[in-house]
């Protein structure tokens, strides 16, 4: 069952190069957003050692917050149609931060931290399943609240492109979607701001201390429970901003989060656990893989490509991923 590209087209080097550069550009732009989302997840995993299954659904909430903010307020509040979507995406941050604090306080904190350590296998079991429950509630509740029809933030920028080239005579011409480019710049700015915050501020230090050794951090007077709560809040908020930026890229519906859970975990695992900048570059790589895979795989298999890459990453580097803990006696 041969499908896809015609098998025997004559080799056309400039065409191939153009396709490659176009996919590379798209990969970098999408990858920057993935990187931002991965940073959020990495913060939660790094500080709390918790797999948040609902991360993609917090992202989905961020998309809808950005969507409603933009369509109800931002467009009329003088931000204009150009800056509006990005301001709306940034507003999704604090909104989802609050949602994250609430979910942590009433649900996640019951199975993590000191309480989690009394449960079977340190509560990992309970954490995975609890956040799966939260994910199901958000997804399906979202159907009721937001409706199942896909929506998107239509902007002037997202339908216009910068034209790079012609290069190489006039054989190569690359289009850079303006909306995606601005979103990528905003994403990188948010990541850099967050890295500065983690490195310089007192908050960042206490989060890192809580991540490094929760027990020692408690003895040093750090409120680890508060650190976890803040990490969870910041983590989902950062991912939500990523979602908000992604919202102007194409239509989405309440089930959108699931696919991104894998994208995010692939990026975080690739970048090295707990490393914020690593997570960004991990996410960037996943974006590149996704876009470059379109060069030789049919479009429908883009996501399969990500999953396969994800499987290869965690299967080939297991020792680096869960350390020596399993052999400690």
């Amino acid at each position: 069952m041969a499908r896809g590209r015609p098998a025997c087209s004559p080799v056309n080097t400039p065409q191939l190069a153009e396709n490659f550069l176009q996919a590379l550009t798209a990969g970098l732009l999408t990858g920057a957003l993935y990187g931002l989302m991965c940073v959020g997840l990495s913060l939660i995993f790094g500080v709390m050692r918790v797999i948040n299954f609902a991360q993609g659904d917090f992202m989905m909430l961020g998309m809808y917050v950005a969507y409603y903010t933009f369509s109800r307020f931002a467009a009329h509040a003088g931000f204009g149609a150009e800056a509006g979507p990005y301001i709306a995406a940034l507003i999704a941050g604090p909104a989802i931060f609050v949602a994250g604090l609430i979910v942590h306080k009433f649900l996640v904190s019951k199975v993590t931290g000191i309480r989690g350590s009394t449960l079977e296998s340190e509560g990992h079991y309970a954490q995975l399943i609890l956040t799966l429950g939260v994910a199901l509630i958000f997804q399906n509740g979202g159907l009721y609240v937001f409706g199942s029809a896909p929506v998107s933030i239509a902007t002037a920028l997202s339908s216009s492109a910068w034209d790079v080239g012609p290069l190489y005579g006039d054989a190569i011409e690359i289009f850079v979607n303006q909306g995606q480019a601005v979103a990528a710049v905003v994403a990188v700015a948010v990541v850099m701001g967050f890295v500065l915050l983690m490195g310089r501020s007192r908050l960042g230090k206490s989060l890192r201390a809580a991540a490094d050794n929760p027990e020692a951090a408690i003895y040093m007077g750090i409120d680890v429970d508060r650190a976890h709560r803040l990490a969870f809040g910041f983590g989902v908020a950062i991912t939500a901003i990523g979602g908000g930026l992604l919202a102007s890229g194409g239509p989405f519906q309440p089930y959108v989060g699931l696919e991104y859970v894998i994208v995010m975990y692939a990026g975080v695992v690739l970048g090295g656990l707990g490393s914020v900048s690593g997570a960004f570059f991990g996410g960037l790589t996943i974006g590149l893989v996704q876009q470059l895979s379109t060069l030789f795989l049919p479009n429908q298999l883009q996501n399969s490509a990500i999953f396969v890459v994800f499987l290869i990453i965690i299967l080939l580097r297991p020792q680096g991923l869960f350390g020596t803990a399993t052999r400690r006696t």
Partner: protein, 595 residues
């Protein structure tokens, strides 16, 4: 010739099946008939998940992979080759089993979080592949001439009966797993994989068997699901909700129990369906919300499901009742004072053959040379004490001896044969038993079950294992506590439990890692008495300790480790007078006190 408990369980399963079938027969509304057919489907799916994740503790978020492959197997085989589902469903089981094996081999290298996430990726990748293949919607062709031969019935109740039959079969299978070496080994792996491996359990082999069986069940029921719904779409069989639903019914009812997944399915599936039917127009997604709320509530209120919650409540009541009665004092094995006063009997080694030997074994962790050129011999029948300060490399040496870690250099010989590079369970089977510095009991199993797990390595049958375990319990002086849950034991009993578990593997040499740690004075004496009694019966023992006092009374010979290397060895009396040992380890106070 079934044991009474087995007969009772079989009766319960069959009665439930018959009751369900009767209830189905009296259901006339076709929509309810469909629900009656779908409930056992999800019960079986939950049971399939339970076989792997419930017993072994490796949480799978990807059982939709097996389910979907089974469903597509039946649909494609009927469409392509006209194969009847009567044959297609068994084929779906085979496909599921193969998928389990193929997925299990690489994925079992992962643990915990990573295993769960990797499992999630399989069905999602398959979902897109099947869409790309053009199978967005497959309808099973109607067979008007021979509907029965193609498992097509106008009466939905027949589907329900088929599903119930599969459910009864799966429950019977689960019951057998629970009782046998299979289930016990999986439970041991769930609670402490390292301890299970050291006790001789072939962890990888059992996990592969579990995922293969689990995949087979999920594949077969996926096939039946395709027949019931007549239409197969990738999201419906590979989607996240399929994996989630398997996990949720099992979690809700009770992880790692026979009835848990069934209870979960019977409660949650109709609830979700009926709410969907009543309110689906007004509140789309209500089914998913109900499942989400159900597992959130279960995790917060009864983290291991309804069945365990009830069991725990019953156990607590039982414990209160037992506590109210005065407990018979176990007969003291020997007068305590005598045990303390008496010096160890110096056994003349009839055949002073070397059981275990290391030759120039070294191990470094990065820059830290934890074990350096250690050459020791353990002679048959002796008690060898390995002492040294914290960080001297004692536990690392044990981990090298039983195969947890590989030496960088050197040989380890068990009765003259090099065992370097063999897996811990092989080394256990070859005759090295061990205990752990931080005790590693299987906490949710009873004392006797813990020891039975240790006995499997040389036992021909489950019955045989029971006998060996009983013997080991008596030797360790734990037979009075045989039926207690290991998680409820105090420290001394836990140490004895590990000792008994190691003994049950009939070791040629027993490695005891700080068995005296954390014990009070009288308990130390008791433990010494037990170890000495075993030695008198010819059990060769190596014991680690960092306190010298108790060891002087116990061992025949000392090896002193310092900074990973052998500092001294010899008779207790000589070693304690060795100036190098005193300087490095015992300190000036010892010299003054013993001058």
């Amino acid at each position: 010739m079934l044991e009474p408990s087995v007969r009772r369980q079989s009766m319960q399963i069959v009665s439930f099946g018959v009751a369900y079938a009767v209830a189905t027969a009296f259901t006339h509304n076709t929509y309810y008939q469909l629900i009656m057919a779908v409930v056992p489907v999800w019960a079986v799916m939950g049971l399939a998940w339970n076989v792997l994740s419930g017993y072994s503790g490796l949480v799978s978020f990807g059982h939709a992979a097996f389910f979907g492959l089974g469903a597509y197997c039946v649909a494609l085989a009927q469409i392509g080759w006209g194969l009847s589902p009567w044959l297609g469903i068994p084929c779906a089981g085979v496909v599921g089993a193969l998928a389990g094996l193929v997925i299990g081999v690489p994925t079992f290298r992962l643990r915990g979080h990573y295993f769960a996430l990797a499992m999630l990726a399989y069905p999602l990748a398959l979902l897109y592949v099947f869409e790309w293949l053009g199978y967005q919607e497959l309808a099973l062709p109607m067979q008007r001439q021979a509907p029965v031969a193609y498992m097509q019935f106008d009466d939905h109740r027949i589907y329900a009966l088929l599903a119930v039959a599969l459910m009864i079969g799966t429950m019977g299978l689960t019951g057998w797993i629970e009782r046998s070496r299979f289930g016990m080994s999986l439970l041991a792996i769930k609670q402490d994989e390292a301890a299970a491996e050291a006790a001789g359990i072939k962890t990888m082999a059992w996990k592969l068997k579990a995922i293969t069986l689990s995949g087979a069940i999920a594949g077969a029921i996926g096939g039946l699901y395709a027949v019931i719904l007549l239409v197969v779409t990738p999201p419906a069989v590979f989607g996240m909700l399929v994996s989630a639903q398997a996990l949720i019914v099992a979690m809700f009812g009770g992880v790692g129990t026979l009835w848990g997944p069934v209870i979960g399915a019977v409660v949650l599936v109709p609830l979700g369906e009926l709410l969907h039917a009543e309110l689906g127009d007004v509140v789309p997604g209500i089914q998913g919300v109900v499942f989400g709320v159900a597992i959130v509530a279960v995790i917060l209120l009864a983290p291991e499901g309804v069945v365990w919650k009830i069991k725990d409540l019953m156990l607590r009541r039982e414990a209160r009742r037992v506590a109210a009665q005065p407990r018979a004092q176990p007969p003291a094995a020997e007068p305590r004072s005598a045990a303390v006063a008496e010096r160890p009997v110096r056994r003349k080694h009839r055949d002073a053959s070397v059981v275990l030997e290391t030759r120039n074994v070294s191990k470094a962790f990065g820059g830290l040379r934890a074990v350096r050129d250690v050459s020791i011999k353990v002679v048959s029948g002796e008690i060898l004490g390995i002492i040294g300060p914290n960080g001297a490399g004692k536990t690392t040496l044990f981990n090298l001896l039983n195969g947890f870690i590989l030496p960088d250099r050197g040989q380890i010989l068990l009765e003259g044969r090099d065992i370097v590079g063999r897996r811990p369970y092989e080394i256990c089977a070859a005759g090295v038993g061990r205990t752990f510095q931080v005790v590693k009991p299987f906490r949710r199993m009873t004392v006797v079950e813990n020891v039975i797990v240790g006995a499997y390595v040389h036992a021909a049958s489950d019955h045989d294992a029971r006998g060996v375990a009983q013997e080991a319990l008596v030797q360790a002086g734990l037979d009075a506590d045989a039926q207690l849950l290991a998680g409820r034991l105090p420290n001394k009993q836990l140490r004895l439990l590990e000792l008994a578990r190691a003994l049950a593997g009939k070791p040629k040499v027993l490695l005891l890692d700080e068995t005296l740690a954390g014990l009070g004075g009288a308990e130390v004496d008791e433990m010494i008495a037990v170890v000495r009694r075993l030695a008198a019966k010819g059990v060769t023992t190596v014991i680690i300790e960092h306190t010298m006092q108790a060891m002087v009374r116990l061992v025949d010979r000392f090896v002193v480790l310092n900074d990973g290397a052998v500092l001294a060895e010899g008779q207790p009396a000589d070693v304690t007078r060795d100036p190098a040992v005193i300087d490095a380890y015992l300190g000036k106070r010892w010299r003054v006190a013993n001058a």
